[in-house]
């Protein structure tokens, strides 16, 4: 579904990604793991069109993402759940969710999608009139994911969903990711919490200092020496 070929990207004279090639097939859950500063957020920004790559090809279902403007990415079926949730704190849960369906194509299905999200996440329905900024971290993450779903996407990009959350909450969040997968969404997750994410992902790529060092399916990576030493303290 999503393909990146030899993508190079960065900011100004600083290069953050070197010759990145990866793919996400329909129905898969793929993880990109790596330490801080490895370039994970840059990767997300490139796919979302917020940062233009220096070179390389990005395609979504065959369509090139190269010249697509950021706000048009949603129309191609990609929804981005940003790092740290980035909800609109002064607006209600329902307003936040509704804004997820802002794109013209999605607006028609807004009510349908809203009901779907409420069914998926009943807690959001309970809190629909609550100000998003007053919710707990886990609930905010739920809302952020719900907001992304509102645009009726095919691919969900999740940028460090566990960031800033307590371990118990992190487990809940990944439980949500599992549920979404069961509903048929394709997911690309960028994460630092290797153990948790490899439990829900089918495959993973290891990104270090802007380069893809290893890749493979989750069970293999969990067993890999590099991963175990560097990220699991073993």
């Amino acid at each position: 579904m999503l393909e990146l070929n030899d993508v190079n990207a960065g900011y100004g004279s600083f290069q953050a990604l070197f010759d990145i090639s990866l793919e996400v097939k329909a129905g898969e859950a793929v993880a990109v793991i790596g330490p801080n500063g490895a370039g994970k957020t840059t990767l997300m920004r490139v796919i979302s069109g917020m940062t233009a790559p220096f070179s390389g090809a990005l395609t979504m279902e065959g369509q090139s993402l190269g010249l697509v403007k950021p706000h048009e990415i949603v129309d191609l079926g990609i929804a981005h759940v940003p790092e740290n949730r980035r909800l609109f704190p002064g607006m209600t849960v329902e307003d936040n969710l509704k804004l997820g369906a802002f794109a013209k194509k999605a607006r028609g299905d807004s009510d349908k999608n809203l009901n779907f999200v409420y069914e998926l996440f009943p807690r959001m329905k309970e809190r629909r009139d609550q100000l998003a900024g007053t919710m707990s971290g886990g609930e905010q993450q739920m809302c952020a994911i719900g907001r992304a779903i509102m645009s009726g996407p095919k691919l969900l990009l999740m940028d460090e969903p566990s960031a800033g959350l307590a371990p118990v909450v992190v487990q809940q969040v990944f439980g949500l990711v599992k549920r979404i997968r069961e509903e048929g969404y394709t997911v690309l997750i960028v994460e630092q919490n290797v153990q948790q994410v490899l439990k829900v992902a089918d495959r993973a790529y290891l990104l270090e200092a802007g380069q893809l060092i290893e890749s493979g399916n989750s069970t293999d990576l969990l067993a890999s020496e590099t991963v175990r030493k560097a990220y699991m303290g073993l």
Binding site: S48, M50, P70, R86, D95, F102
Partner: protein
């Protein structure tokens, strides 16, 4: 003797509130633009000035029915607002904010001068003689009451727009987090345009209300421009409710000050009040730190 004093005071307070209505409308426009685009249009009052001239020429000279002239004025200033954004602000959105402030300052000079070129510095008046109403020994001008009422309606309309429409929600959202909007498929450029047009429209509405009460001349903006900025900052720059409250607080102070001394002292008092509040609460009454 005490009774009469109280009546004058009450009258001054009410007049202050009425005057505050239009100021609140102006500060709403300015706050909207600042909240969304993060720029203060120093020339906002000059846009109002052009709206006032439009009303003068259409309704005062060419006898166009007032309501029609008002719609034309609002439309014209709305377009001006859009042009200000597209031609002047958009090209320098990435520059340091002070550049943007100064660019609108240049526009202030430009607008004042163009008005002088076109219409000279003569004071013009719409020439409407609206009645003065008496209410238990207090006198209120009908024009001011009308202006207050319409201003409230205008603000209510904007409130409904912001809370009930998709674009309105997008406008509120962008002022809380600019970058994320893009991820939801919102073209931030279009949101800026809508905001600039609405800001201009509000200025146009204020112009219609002000021209009923005051003369228009190229420098009329100086009378209420600075006080509008001060109101916005006092309420918390970008905070529409704060601006609303601050407008009335300051206009009451101005009115009461003018009661006990010359009009200028009322303004001085208001400005000094502003400076003091800035020191106690630098983010404004309702501003976030």
């Amino acid at each position: 003797m005490d009774e009469i004093f109280d009546i004058f005071l009450l009258e001054a307070i009410v007049n202050g509130i009425l005057f505050g209505g239009v100021l609140a409308l102006l500060s709403l426009g300015l706050n909207l633009i600042f909240g969304v685009v993060d720029v203060v249009w120093i020339c906002y009052a000059e846009l109002v000035m052009f709206g006032m001239y439009t009303m003068y020429w259409l309704a005062g000279v060419y006898d166009v029915p007032i309501l029609l002239a008002a719609i034309a004025a609002i439309g014209l200033v709305s377009i001006m607002g859009l042009l200000v954004h597209v031609l002047i602000i958009a090209p320098i959105l990435g520059s340091p904010p002070i550049n943007q402030l100064l660019a609108t300052g240049g526009l202030l000079f430009f607008l004042q001068s163009v008005a002088t070129l076109m219409w000279s510095i003569e004071f013009r008046n719409l020439g409407l003689k609206l009645p003065i109403l008496e209410f238990s020994e207090m006198y209120f001008s009908y024009a001011r009451l009308l202006a207050f009422g319409v201003a409230l309606v205008g603000m209510a309309a904007v409130y409904l727009f912001l809370t009930r429409t998709y674009i309105g929600a997008a406008i509120r959202a962008i002022s809380q987090d600019r970058e994320v909007m893009v991820l939801m498929g919102v073209d931030e450029k279009k949101v800026y345009w809508v905001t600039a047009a609405i800001g201009g429209g509000l200025a146009g509405l204020a112009a219609c209300l002000l021209v009923l009460q005051y003369d228009v001349h190229p420098f009329v903006g100086i009378s209420f421009g600075p006080i509008t900025f001060i109101i916005c900052v006092l309420g918390g720059l970008g905070n529409m409710l704060g601006g609303f409250l601050a407008a009335f607080i300051l206009s009451i102070i101005i009115s009461i000050g003018g009661l006990y001394s010359e009009t200028e002292w009322g303004y001085v008092l208001a400005f000094v009040f502003f400076i003091i509040v800035m020191f106690i609460r630098p983010q404004g009454l309702l501003g976030k730190k």
